[in-house]
Symmetry: C2
Subunit: 408 residues, 2 copies
């Protein structure tokens, strides 16, 4: 029972829900599992697993295959369970500061189709962006088999998103404040599907945890470098959200009291040292290229010395994060992955200098295992969440024949 409301009792419906969802979660995570592996993973009886798989098969989400795959020892090979060929899917939206990426993502995490459009600098009116996104959604959904159900839409936003209702409280680089972007997109689409919004760093963390560099790691942090800097925290295997959903705003941790003025109104925030604008200034990159700083850094041919101070600042800041959250893994996403490749030594040294020995000894820095798709795939994962919580209910309310409905 991953996230049941605490204090409640467990009735038998809940047991079935949980077990169905857990089987599906395993298939989703591994792509292909044998029934024998499922019995071992879940600690349930052979017969029970068989029954659960049968029900999922009749729901049209998984298929059983002939025994295949690497065999270990003797004995009859176990039947495989894999995702259905024409199964449920979600739409993932990665809203960046300069472009929106929209993808149709199948259960299992494969990007089936993808579309991108630029966003005018400064964000533009939210309804314009919503209209653009809706157009991209129409495009990626068009070719989907009409019998495949759409489970929902997950949207990543570079800013503070209120958990309770998905309101975008503040997205500085889009110049948005208190925007109900989920409702805007739905209105532009003209249909009603479940929509989930979340912060980009939180979604990066989720995706890296499920399918990237952090598989099997229950305490990890994803640092997103996306003009601003934020952190998504997974702890004990679950997302750290905080009271309102704003946890992980590490970009405004104090860093240099005598430092530069930050757009948040304070002085010397970490972001003023390792944010995109600061780095661009350090390497003499024109202001117009700030939004694509990652690409600039990938092709950076200047002296690494110009970035030495930045690397040190990154390491010092990471030390604070390591002390506060004690993660096993820190994934550096966005342009920070490009930066880390250039100044790895400075970052590692600064981290080791400032972090406490105990949390330091078990932490690792790494690049995203999903490249630049972490956030997009994280958006897919939150859209899939209801399916794992209750497969029957989620498929019951899913939208079928989506292409036709959206065409009109």
């Amino acid at each position: 029972m991953t996230a049941q409301r605490r204090g409640l009792g467990t009735n038998q419906e809940a047991v079935r829900r949980h077990n169905l969802g857990t089987v599906l979660r395993h298939v989703h995570g591994a792509g292909q599992v044998s029934r024998a592996e499922l019995t071992a993973l879940m600690g349930l009886n052979r017969s029970t697993i068989a029954d659960l798989v049968l029900e999922l098969e009749s729901l049209g989400v998984v298929e059983q295959t002939v025994p295949v795959g690497v065999r270990s020892g003797a004995g009859r090979p176990s039947a495989g369970v894999r995702l259905a060929e024409v199964g449920p899917y979600v739409v993932a939206v990665d809203l960046g500061v300069d472009r929106a990426v929209v993808a149709r993502v199948a259960l299992g995490g494969d990007v089936v189709e993808r579309a991108t459009a630029p966003i005018p600098s400064g964000g533009g009116e939210a309804w314009q962006v919503g209209s653009t996104v809706a157009g991209l959604i129409r495009r990626v959904v068009e070719a989907a088999p009409s019998s495949a159900p759409l489970l929902g839409v997950g949207i990543s936003v570079p800013g503070l998103v209120r958990r309770s209702d998905g309101l975008v409280r503040l997205a500085p680089n889009l110049d948005w404040q208190d925007v109900s972007f989920g409702a805007i997109v739905l209105a532009a689409l003209g249909v009603d599907v479940p929509v989930q919004l979340a912060n980009d760093a939180d979604l990066g963390a989720l995706a890296e945890h499920r399918r990237g560099a952090g598989v099997g790691v229950d305490d990890l942090i994803y640092i997103s470098g996306n003009v601003g800097v934020g952190a998504g925290v997974i702890t004990g295997g679950v997302r750290l959200e905080g009271a309102g959903g704003y946890a992980g705003e590490v970009g405004h941790l104090p860093f240099a009291p005598e430092g530069r003025l930050c757009h948040c109104g304070n002085v010397g925030c970490w972001e003023t040292e390792v944010g995109a604008h600061a780095i661009a200034k350090a390497i003499g990159c024109p202001e117009s290229d700030v939004v694509t700083l990652g690409d600039v850094l990938d092709e950076y041919a200047g002296s690494p010395r110009e970035l030495g101070a930045t690397g040190k600042a990154l390491g010092y800041g990471l030390a604070s994060i390591v002390n506060a959250f004690n993660p096993r893994l820190v994934v550096l996403g966005g342009y920070l992955s490009s930066l880390y490749a250039l100044v790895r030594h400075e970052v590692d040294a600064a981290l080791a200098e400032r972090a406490l020995p105990a949390p330091l000894e078990s932490v690792t820095l790494s690049l995203p295992g999903l490249g630049s798709d972490s956030v997009l795939l994280g958006a897919a994962e939150i859209a899939l969440e209801p399916l794992f919580a209750d497969p029957v209910a989620a498929l019951g309310t899913a939208l079928v024949d989506v292409g036709a409905r959206l065409a009109g």
Copy 2:
């Protein structure tokens, strides 16, 4: 299912375990609940609750009472469920830097008996402290009814405690490093009971969440001022532990790069501004009174201006914590509660100045609801944890006739 291993399925034994534990948790939390309230709280059937209560009664942990208490509407009054008169108990140990407090705590959280002994300054050898603590444990257990089972011992340590095995990695103010204090106490006691160790701030947070200022608040932080400064974090209703159990070490967040040298080897840690030594210096308190700084501050009659900078530093540091964790409540424990009473205005203003608007709007600062017992009661709570996870198993392995066993 509060903390089941993820990925596992739920079998029927687990359901019963969970439901029994949840009933007990409710009785433990409320002291007295009616069966009707339990059905509403847990969402289970009347008959099911009746059966669960019957089983707990036969285990000797709860008793049913005649209908009593405030009645709301019409209808037959519901039977009450309360903790058994002679029920299971735990021993809680609060290891401070200058004294150890040991208490016998009944299920329900009442301190039945308590004993205290000083600890030589600088901590002394761990085995000496262990022997002292064992003596206190003997004393508080002596008068316990011989039929009452001892569930375990919970120990709070002012330092970094490894979650996996309870090893005390570092307790600077006791001058300990890698001390297996649980084993030491058990050896001095000569019996084998479950022992849980944890960091003092984590336990303060736990107790305030369960029985103090944070009842019903699922995202709270307890800041312990106990010579050093640390934070215990509850998020989503569960303890934030991190990979090794060291999460919440906020005392060494960077604060003033040009500041004082910290014992951790860095410069300008938050602790160098709001730690006990810094405050003592600010108000001209002799070094020998640092360990009782809370009492000193309670009787402080000097000019509040001497503490203005400290209050500001506290507020700024709290802003970082609020941005990073987005709590709904921050409880200031230890000497920080005394400090806050003196410079509330400065702290509030500094927090409001540096925290981001979104997380700031929902956060409250408060004093501990449990006074100076937060940490002690938190130690009791971790010792009780196995009981709620599996009442039958925990009571099966509990120790009876404790007085006689410990006398020899």
